[in-house]
Symmetry: C2
Subunit: 392 residues, 2 copies
């Protein structure tokens, strides 16, 4: 890989070069670079061995540096949700799937204004979306690939009816410069432990086979069948029709991923480094990572399992939070935290943690080796230069 970076570190101006995590201000997300590299390598190998195209979803890291590492390892392209993610990633990628319905003129126009070197594909599930996208693509004179989205049990977006999906694919085909490129689905309803996913995966496999058969019969053979998320990642090959997978979380993993057995605890590469700021109230300790640092994501829908677990003390969870405070439950531990002590929190849902931050710090052991911007965070809306007041 390329050379290492000297981290010039904290504050709106550089304060000092930080080389040790003890000098980092908290709360701060730190990435174990060796663990991240293993995660990237493992999934790249899995995809290669199984003959699957890997198109990682960048929502988890939103970082050009990490996306570049994914592409170096053979990813065929990237998956994005928002126009700003796609714009940002166009700096490193020539092939981008926007796996989000292109609804609304502002969104559609922004996608079609992506740099010309980007081969753009969009997943969608409605006649309205096809018509709006086709009209805009004609105006922009730009070829746009389309995946028709099927609902295979998530019940969020996607067409439940294969007939409707085929009709939509036909509408796409008949509306150049749109091109019908394939079928997309998202198995996000499969959040069971990995060894309890059989029934849902079998059902999904059968549904996908039937759907593909119907598309072929209708003369609309899908070039790509795209699915896959981190919880089902290493079982993607069991879905016979699938040709492409789009996992996001695997790059860092998190408490949820480890809890269902989709990774080992040692594969959790991102933690939130935090400081104990108060032990004034007996029976608990307060850290400086609250809802603005960790997000308020539950464990698999369970509200009573807390919002993260300590890397160093697996018997201690963040039981409640306010914006800048996390309350540690000390009822099951013999550990006696001191004010000023530092801990690392494995968050429940790492994608949200990254979305809350502007910078990730790369570490090996206690050494801070690099840092990089969360370049695609936010929406990329630009404010008016607001020097004056806003009220009359």
């Amino acid at each position: 890989m390329d050379g290492l970076l000297k981290p010039w570190a904290l504050g709106p101006k550089p304060w000092f070069p930080v080389t040790n995590i003890h000098d980092l201000e908290t709360p701060v997300p730190i990435v174990d670079l060796d663990r991240m590299a293993l995660n990237l390598d493992r999934v790249a190998s899995y995809a290669k061995e199984r003959g699957l195209a890997l198109r990682p979803h960048i929502k988890t890291h939103k970082s050009l540096t990490v996306a570049a590492e994914q592409l170096k390892r053979g990813a065929v392209g990237l998956t994005c949700a928002t126009p700003f993610e796609a714009e940002t990633m166009s700096d490193v990628a020539d092939d981008i799937l926007v796996a989000y319905p292109p609804i609304g003129d502002a969104r559609v126009n922004r996608l079609l204004a992506l740099p010309e070197h980007v081969r753009l594909t969009i997943a969608l599930d409605s006649v309205d979306a096809v018509r709006a996208l086709a009209s805009a693509a004609r105006s922009a004179n730009r070829t746009v690939g389309v995946y028709v989205e099927l609902d295979v049990g998530m019940h969020r977006v996607g067409l439940p009816s294969v007939d409707d999906a085929i009709a939509l694919a036909r509408l796409v085909r008949d509306n150049p410069p749109l091109e019908f490129s394939g079928i997309a689905f998202y198995p996000g309803h499969v959040r069971d432990a990995v060894d309890e996913q059989d029934a849902k995966l079998n059902e999904m496999d059968a549904a996908l086979r039937r759907a593909v058969e119907r598309f072929v019969d209708a003369g609309l053979t899908p070039r790509v069948v795209s699915g896959g998320s981190t919880p089902t990642l290493y079982r993607t090959h069991e879905l016979e029709s699938v040709t492409e997978l789009r996992p996001g979380t695997y790059v860092f993993n998190d408490r949820t991923t480890a809890a269902i057995g989709a990774c080992d605890w040692e594969d959790c590469a991102l933690t939130v480094l935090s400081t104990v700021v108060s032990t004034a109230v007996p029976g608990q300790a307060v850290i400086d990572a609250g809802a603005k640092a960790l997000g308020r994501e539950p464990m698999r829908g369970q509200p009573d399992e807390g919002f993260g677990v300590l890397l160093e003390h697996s018997d201690v969870v963040v039981k409640s939070m306010s914006e800048e405070h996390g309350i540690l439950d000390l009822s099951r531990t013999s550990w006696k935290p001191r004010v000023g002590e530092r801990v690392r929190v494995i968050p429940n849902h790492v994608c949200i943690v990254v979305h809350l931050n502007d910078v990730l710090f790369g570490v090996r052991g206690n050494e801070v080796e690099s840092s990089w911007p969360v370049a695609a965070r936010g929406r990329g809306y630009e404010p008016a230069t607001a020097a004056a007041g806003v009220l009359r």
Copy 2:
């Protein structure tokens, strides 16, 4: 007030001047400027009439433009939680309270490096914090006011024992350039409906009176007794000892504030403008505001009341979310949403929504009149310029 701003609007480059909310990309936070002005005026008047010093917490808006409006209306200074908030607000304020324990060298040093024009006060609750702050203040040769934090029922930070608090105040007094400036407390445990707060407020009033008496007896008369949050805002004067209030949420208000009667529904100034992106799954509609736009904040600890309510359809809540999807519960409404239709969501907790965004758009009716950066969002950590790879 100063002149209005021309909003040059969306995208990493200006796309077009947006003058109508229909041209805004979604999801996007929009602020009803007239409602915000009324909120600002009302609280400024309340504080003035009751002889209370108003020191708004800027965590809610994180915006220089809004802070300037608060100061124009007579706020004695601002309250911040993070070093970056304080740094940012030093552009408009000469008097800043950091209401967060100063633990950790990085945090303390950063606070002491605030521009010299800032009169800095810090709230704390531990001997460790006093010693570290005193040492750093001596090195920086900077006077720092200190509020000693009492726990009056929130059980988060703050000393439960008045004896301990007095001992801490004495330690502060004996460690110049620290100055004992007063007592702080946070009534965040009072989240009851406004007309059901009597018992807790009476108890708090009595506890505060006793504490102040004890401080006076010990020769440590507090110049300031600082408390107050939005749910109890207009009852602050019932706490006889209190001299200063620090509400944050009142500037925008939110679903929680309205639900407990601490504001009217018409006082909710910030909504998240969203687009219906899918109706493919029967019985629900999907909007483009999910957990990354709304946050996953429950209503007063109730997980089953959803994550926001529609401004235009008070019988429709966001019942569940994923990162970029919000699922509307249509079971109690006769409204039939269409794909592409736009709605405004009143979020459960507006502080988190602002923290998720970089820009707020100011509107009157359907007209976009201004936009401004959420300048103090994030931590102000600066990444190394990461052009190269981060893995070896």
